[in-house]
Symmetry: C3
């Protein structure tokens, strides 16, 4: 599917946080997509309207950017392009949780890409998340992902030691990637945009699974170059650039 | 001219976008300039007043930062220091175009550094730009650059496969750089600030041409180290740091 | 002390500038701490309340983020966690100076981490700082640091060719680090957060000195890999990740 992404060179409108914006933009360029970043309410409707997908990230949200996310989200829905939501630090503050609820209510989101703690927070499950980290909890993650997918009518991709991708029906369980990926900020954020790029080829749970698998394999390739986070970050961008088709390990439906 | 830049160590006030700010600041330091970034209306008049040049970039503009750009621009004009405008994604939204028009009306801009699609948008020419990418069009780029330089009474540097630098009279055509430069976000943005640094030595079309030539050669040196965008980005900062005088290939006037 | 930092994996709430946010977050992760960045007034009280320390940085301050810094600072004080202030470009504008005065008045700051020019500005000493650079001045830096520590009742860490760390009583003079560190943006900003992480182990002048020493040695290790700023930046993150205990060179009290 990466070949189709590169042929299409989709324009992805990213409203994202300033911590990861540079890494995210460079990752998208390396992938073969074209990122455009802008969060001013005056222009986001127009930006979303020329884009092939919209990628929303609340990592450093503020009242101004949240308004822009809602405007862009509605414009994306009008145009029918995929919308990916990255609910960074969902459980860290009640403000984040209320913003996520509002986005999920007012925007037709195609896919949520998050970690375990963020998913648990959205679904109001007990989880020991800390800040923007995944944390640990007791529930069965696959069940929570299925429940979330059904509740909101969207695709859920929850990444961690094992990645789970589901639309509430089909479940892909993916084992790809390396631990060092959690030592680089924005690895999840960039994956969310990469997911948006794959969804421009096909709006399906399989496309999301393929994005996650592809991304994990890029992480493995980069980890083979260096396992130190500074060098790894550089090698990861190189890996996204040089990788061709991934071997998809599909999980079964349940 | 790079020697004079380094001797002067000019302070460049950059009001720029959060996607490229880190890369831009590191590039300026590697060059031998001193960047200061701040976009709060309360302080930009003072920041511009202590600076040797002002570098404006609308990549992630918002109403607050646009107001600051106008204040800083007027302060720079009062002090008589060069002002460089980077009209990122000019054609992507009508808001961007109206902001550019306003800046060009209220601020005496010394030089515009942009890509073909952005120049075409400013001059209302037909062009197939997409988001913040250069895109493709039919018109003769040199003619459009000459027209823009005359219309606004400034230097135009439009970069691409061939770079064109003109003040409406003299035209430099420069062939330097490598394709991989377009796979790293902020390469154009950083060049705009580098141009501002060169303009502190001499406010002339030749200084802009030399900045563009120098920058392209740094890109060639970095591409010789690596052609993968992650590694290239790192090598490019190293190249800016280690490079001395460039060989200027001057184009003729026409 | 780094072992204790890594065992604790402290959550550091950073309200920082968009120029260095990515580097700062990656440095904190490499160190073994967990950064969370957010500057919306609606949520900073909650963010500071779940954190182990608060790191404030005014590099690209604006009225909105200043309000958030004050809210977060008061919440951190209520919880009793350390607060580190990085007064970036203190002397560059009167707005910055007034904001620093306000923070020092309304928030109980544990430590200030700055360069010579910034310290001189805060203490209204004559100093030839330029923008956000350290600059040069005539006064005895150690005396000014002692005076500041006593006046505000906090720890002062002023970094430069020789680093001075004092609580107004004990003085540590530290010689560690390499000149190339001043060619990478955010080196000081990241140190301020690293200081916050060390202060979560022990709120003492010794903890700050150890953070400064550790950081300088990481710089030496990275400089041994590369002395070009692009490669150095990458090597520095790797060095933070791989370094274990540092050899502390304690200065005497005076």
């Amino acid at each position: 599917m990466i070949k189709q992404v590169r042929e299409k060179k989709p324009l992805i409108h990213c409203i994202t946080n300033y911590v990861v914006a540079n890494f995210q933009a460079n990752g998208m360029l390396a992938l073969g997509a074209s990122p455009v970043m802008g969060d001013e309410a005056e222009e986001v409707e127009e930006l979303a309207s020329i884009a092939d997908a919209l990628s929303l990230n609340i990592g450093t949200l503020n009242q101004r950017s949240v308004e822009s996310m809602l405007i862009a989200g509605r414009a994306a829905n009008t145009k029918g392009i995929p919308v990916v939501l990255d609910p960074v630090g969902a459980g860290a503050t009640s403000y984040r949780l209320s913003v996520i609820d509002q986005i999920l209510k007012e925007v037709n989101v195609t896919a949520i890409r998050c970690n375990a703690g963020e998913l648990a927070a959205i679904m109001r499950k007990d989880w020991s998340a800390k800040g923007v980290d995944a944390g640990e909890g007791e529930g069965d993650l696959t069940s929570i992902a299925l429940e979330a997918a059904k509740k909101y009518g969207l695709i859920v991709a929850v990444t961690g030691p094992v990645d789970i991708v589901t639309d509430g029906d089909i479940v892909h369980e993916i084992q790809a990637g390396r631990q060092v990926m959690s030592s680089v900020t924005g690895m999840g954020c960039l994956l969310s945009s990469v997911t948006a790029a794959f969804l421009t080829v096909e709006q399906s749970v399989d496309a999301v699974a393929e994005a996650v698998q592809f991304y994990g394999e890029a992480g493995e390739n980069a980890a083979a170059v260096s396992y130190s986070p500074g060098s790894f970050k550089t090698a990861f961008i190189d890996a996204l650039y040089s990788m061709n088709e991934s071997k998809i390990q599909k999980g079964g439906s349940r």
